[in-house]
């Protein structure tokens, strides 16, 4: 059933308020009851975005402090020459963990966490569209992150640097489990980040206030949308990279071992294809925050809104053309380097546009010098300096001089602290009144800012010089007389100043932060956006329609009318949790989404997922497999309660708008999520194909290597035929399941059931063909690449198999029919993707070596 189109005359700005007063008795109480989080131990099963968001932010900040403590130990070690506070082995673990935890456990989760809290409020949505997915992402990150950090106390932490270059991290040079902790631990935390990104994309596009068209979308939402798309495109590269390196370490598949046709540079390409966009992945949400804070503090609309949106989109694109600028010293041809140099300088243009837009906004209003303002000004100063040195290292000849020196350490800290940490602290001071009974202290805030601003500059400004006069990064000590002593001592003093600032912040937090979802401090800044509406666990009492980008400034009675329930969906029509799904461009109401409430499933699924990866790290394979099976079981349990179907007829949400309580097809939120998941899968596969081609490039005359026979065409052709037949069966099943009469024909499970062995057969046939030809995955990179493509396909086929069996089970339980068919649609989409990937894989593995004729 598709959602009905609204009348063409629909214009929220011109209508009377949708719902009259007084509101029916008990309406508000029912709404409150539906959104109330559980009490007692079950409190941890809460999925409200405010609770999960707060836990998420808190955990990310905990990791910031922990990684900061590691930095202080390192600075103490470097305060004087030939110091022996820590050994070189521990120092290696310290700098690896500091970088890894800051980047993977603090920076990305922190901005994702803030958006879990802020986005629904800012868009006046009741919640994000998949609250249990948010909870799953958080708990997986929480459990996995803490265990990962705990390795530092047992000498088990990774020690190969935060970018883990092989061959240093290969089995030959890092035989212990330390590197595996990084590869498996970080790999699955990336999966948690992707889960969050899917949530954000669908949330921004599908759950907004009525009338919040794209041109009225808060800049923060734009920033988070670009951020999430970048995660979807960029993170699969590192997931694949960690997978390949772990397969090399565990099974001796030589992707990065030069003696057997591998190439360590492949890792660098995969890592930095993720790693450079990662900088912007962290930076863009921070700019989104700044674009919300600056207009409020200047009490004037943001200057150049459209240019800022352009800058966000352009930055998102261009940042994927920069990755090789981390590899300028690897001997690539100058022409190739010049492309990345060009992109590195070009990306400064959109960043500059944003900076000028903020300055113009400050100039056009009267900026109040509050603590958030101070942090924004600090951000502009520090980030601009980092950006300038960024342009310097974007020029290859300069980079060759500064590479791996403390100059680079200074540059990256100016960019990351300026571009992310300062905006985040501005955001803390700015948004705490929306989450707490009391605002944070302005007086203490100025101390926090002062200490941190001075601390950052005292620490990192001298490091430019330390680097330029020759001090390499990642050395645990240095001899007397190199001219580095005083500079290092100053940097150490600065680091402790930053720590003092953070300590004052913690004190302020302990003194003033009192979490509430019912009676917060209110709109203390006279801000213009919807997160400052009166709210509760249900977010806003009714869902407003807005007519401008600054609704609280331009619609004077909005807060009161929303709170009285005069806008859309002031109660609950199904008795449970609901959100209003809107169209992606025009924010027209499309249907009422029945939002799942609290449950143990996401918590347990996250725990078992974390356990699966962590146990695998320490080679406890059997318990790990059990945990993996339990994790899948919990996910199935969780999904079983979703896809509720149209539990009641279409309902009036106010203003004469009658909406269905269920919808399928492209209008459905889970359809969107599945499309995004397919893009993620497609990117993993694309990166794998890139790896295959890269390895071909570095193996002239050995693709395939001598003595390796390419299987006859007949077998891949047969496998392709099976894939196509399988796709046809699914298409027929989909056709059989059409109609508005709630039919559930018996042929559907039969067709799906027949398709299951076909898809398995196709994949197994290809695997068997390679094995039977005598191809070894560990003899040469060619075999490793071929088996990697085949193995990835096996994984997708097994997932399709599980989804197919689940779909059949839904039919058997009477939970699948021609109207209630979201489960089938999701399976169908994934199935088509798997078939497409299988066909491309066959073409690559069997066609490419024939095409190139062993060149």
């Amino acid at each position: 059933m598709n959602a009905p189109e609204l009348p063409r005359s629909f214009d929220p700005g011109e209508r009377e308020l949708p719902n009259p007063l007084p509101r029916p008795e008990g309406e508000f109480e029912t709404l409150k009851r539906a959104w109330k989080p559980p009490r007692g131990l079950a409190f941890i099963t809460a999925v409200n975005n405010t609770y999960v968001g707060l836990w998420y932010v808190g955990t990310a900040f905990l990791f910031f402090i922990l990684a900061g403590i590691l930095a202080l130990i390192m600075r103490a070690q470097l305060a004087s020459p030939e110091n022996d506070l820590v050994s070189h082995g521990l120092y290696n673990q310290l700098f690896t963990m500091h970088g890894t935890v800051m980047m993977f456990l603090f920076a990305v989760p922190a901005v994702e966490a803030a958006s879990v809290y802020l986005l629904p409020n800012m868009q006046a949505a009741r919640d994000l569209p998949f609250p249990r997915l948010s909870a799953y992402a958080f708990w997986a990150y929480f459990v996995g992150g803490l265990v990962f950090f705990g390795t530092i106390f047992f000498g088990l932490s990774p020690d190969g640097g935060w970018f883990m270059y092989p061959p240093l991290t290969s089995t030959k040079y890092s035989p212990a489990d330390n590197a595996d902790w990084w590869l498996l631990g970080i790999g699955f935390i990336e999966i948690s980040a992707i889960a969050g990104a899917i949530e954000i994309i669908v949330g921004v596009m599908k759950t907004r206030a009525v009338g919040m068209t794209l041109d009225k979308l808060p800049v923060y939402s734009w920033a988070m949308l670009v951020f999430a798309v970048m995660i979807v495109i960029g993170f699969p590269a590192i997931i694949l990279g960690t997978l390949l390196l772990e397969m090399e370490r565990a099974f001796d598949w030589p992707f990065f071992i030069a003696e057997r046709g591998g190439d360590p540079l492949l890792w660098q390409h995969l890592f930095w294809f993720f790693g450079h966009p990662e900088v912007y992945i962290i930076f863009l949400p921070a700019t989104g925050m700044v674009s919300m804070i600056v207009p409020t503090m200047a009490q004037t609309p943001l200057v150049g809104y459209r240019l800022v949106v352009l800058a966000l989109i352009a930055t998102g694109f261009l940042s994927f053309g920069l990755w090789v600028h981390h590899m300028f010293a690897t001997g690539l041809p100058k022409m190739s380097l010049s492309f990345f140099s060009a992109a590195s300088t070009a990306v400064a243009v959109p960043s500059g546009i944003q900076v000028f837009a903020w300055i113009a906004t400050i100039a056009s209003g009267r900026m109040k010098l509050t603590t958030p303002s101070l942090f924004v000004i600090g951000f502009l100063f520090i980030f601009t300096l980092g950006g300038l040195t960024g342009v310097m290292v974007a020029v290859a000849p300069f980079d060759w001089q500064a590479h791996d020196s403390y100059f680079v350490v200074a540059h990256l800290h100016y960019v990351l602290i300026g571009g992310m940490v300062f905006p985040l602290f501005a955001a803390f001071y700015y948004w705490v009144p929306a989450a707490s009974k009391r605002a944070l202290s302005e007086r203490l805030g100025r101390w926090v800012f002062g200490l941190m601003f001075l601390g950052v500059n005292v620490t990192f400004l001298p490091m430019h010089v330390t680097g330029l006069i020759g001090m390499p990064r990642r050395v645990y000590t240095y001899p007397v007389g190199m001219g580095w002593d005083a500079l290092n001592l100053v940097s150490t003093v600065g680091a402790f100043m930053i720590a003092a600032g953070v300590a004052v912040f913690l004190f302020d937090l302990a003194r003033n932060f009192r979490f509430t979802s019912e009676d917060n401090a209110g709109n203390v800044w006279n801000a213009s956006t919807l997160e400052w509406l009166p709210n509760g666990n249900y977010n806003t009492r009714s869902i407003p329609s807005i007519t401008s980008r600054d609704p609280l400034w331009d619609q004077p009675n909005l807060s009161k009318d929303v709170e009285e329930g005069r806008y859309y969906l002031p109660g609950t029509v199904t008795g449970g949790r609901e959100a209003l799904v809107t169209s992606p461009f025009d924010a027209r109401p499309q249907y009422i989404l029945q939002v799942p409430g609290p449950g143990w499933q996401p918590v347990l699924a996250a725990f078992f997922t974390a356990a699966f990866f962590l146990l695998l790290t320490v080679k406890l394979v059997f318990p790990s497999v059990i945990c993996g099976v339990l994790a899948v079981g919990c996910v199935i349990w969780w999904l079983w309660e979703t896809d509720p179907g149209p539990v009641r007829p279409p309902a009036d949400i106010g203003g004469g708008i009658v909406l269905p309580v269920y919808a399928t097809g492209p209008v459905n939120h889970s359809w969107w999520a599945m499309i995004v998941l397919m893009v993620v899968s497609g990117m993993v596969f694309t990166c794998l194909l890139f790896s295959y081609l890269f390895l071909w490039l570095v193996n002239p005359g050995a693709w395939p290597p001598q003595g390796v026979r390419i299987p006859d065409w007949i077998w891949p052709s047969l496998a392709a035929l099976l894939y196509c037949a399988c796709g046809a069966l699914i298409a027929v099943a989909s056709r059989q399941l059409r109609g508005s009469d709630r039919r559930s024909p018996r042929s559907v499970p039969v067709l799906v059931g027949v398709a299951l062995p076909l898809v398995c057969g196709a994949s197994a046939l290809d695997l068997w063909t390679q094995w039977e030809s005598g191809l070894s995955p560990s003899a040469h990179a060619y075999g490793a690449a071929v088996y990697a493509i085949t193995s990835l396909q096996v994984f997708f086929v097994l997932t399709s198999l599980t989804m197919g069996a689940y779909t059949i089970a839904r039919w058997l339980a009477g939970r699948l029919d021609s109207v209630r068919r979201t489960t089938f649609d999701n399976t169908m989409l994934f199935w088509y993707y798997t078939i497409g990937q299988g066909l491309v894989g066959l073409l690559m593995v069997h066609g490419f070596p024939r095409l190139t004729g062993g060149l």
């Binding site: 068209t213 949106v309 989109i313 352009a314 022409m335 992109a343 461009f585 002239p700």
Partner: protein, 119 residues
């Protein structure tokens, strides 16, 4: 402003997509030819590497220019007719994005005139 929403989004992103195509083509071809020692390969009497860069730059530049003209027309049309503000916003964003993309694509084509192919 006519056209589907998907079409509008594609038009808005056309220049950046063209840049991505140019970037992939020039980096892919340069890496492959240099990596395989085929730096001196010629086609129709011209070295393949600079020819690829110039061709890819020209084609993507032309495509972006078409997108820019098209989006500019849509923008002017949106200004003249009573259309939804979101249409005006998208067409304006398309003009800005495609305009910026022209500069970026040109910027990436310049090395072909300055640097040797595989040194």
């Amino acid at each position: 402003m006519g056209g589907s929403r998907t079409g509008q989004v594609l038009l808005m992103l056309a220049g950046l997509i063209a840049w991505a195509v140019q970037f992939t083509a020039i980096y892919g071809v340069t890496s492959t030819l240099c990596g395989r020692g085929w730096a001196d390969a010629t086609l129709l009497g011209m070295e393949v590497v600079p020819m690829t860069i110039l061709s890819a730059t020209f084609v993507t530049l032309a495509a972006t220019a078409v997108a820019l003209v098209w989006s500019f027309r849509s923008y002017r049309q949106a200004k003249r007719q009573p259309v939804a503000i979101v249409d005006d916003f998208i067409s304006h964003a398309a003009v800005l994005v495609n305009g910026l993309s022209i500069v970026v694509i040109l910027w990436h084509g310049i090395p072909a005139f300055i640097l040797p192919a595989c040194a």
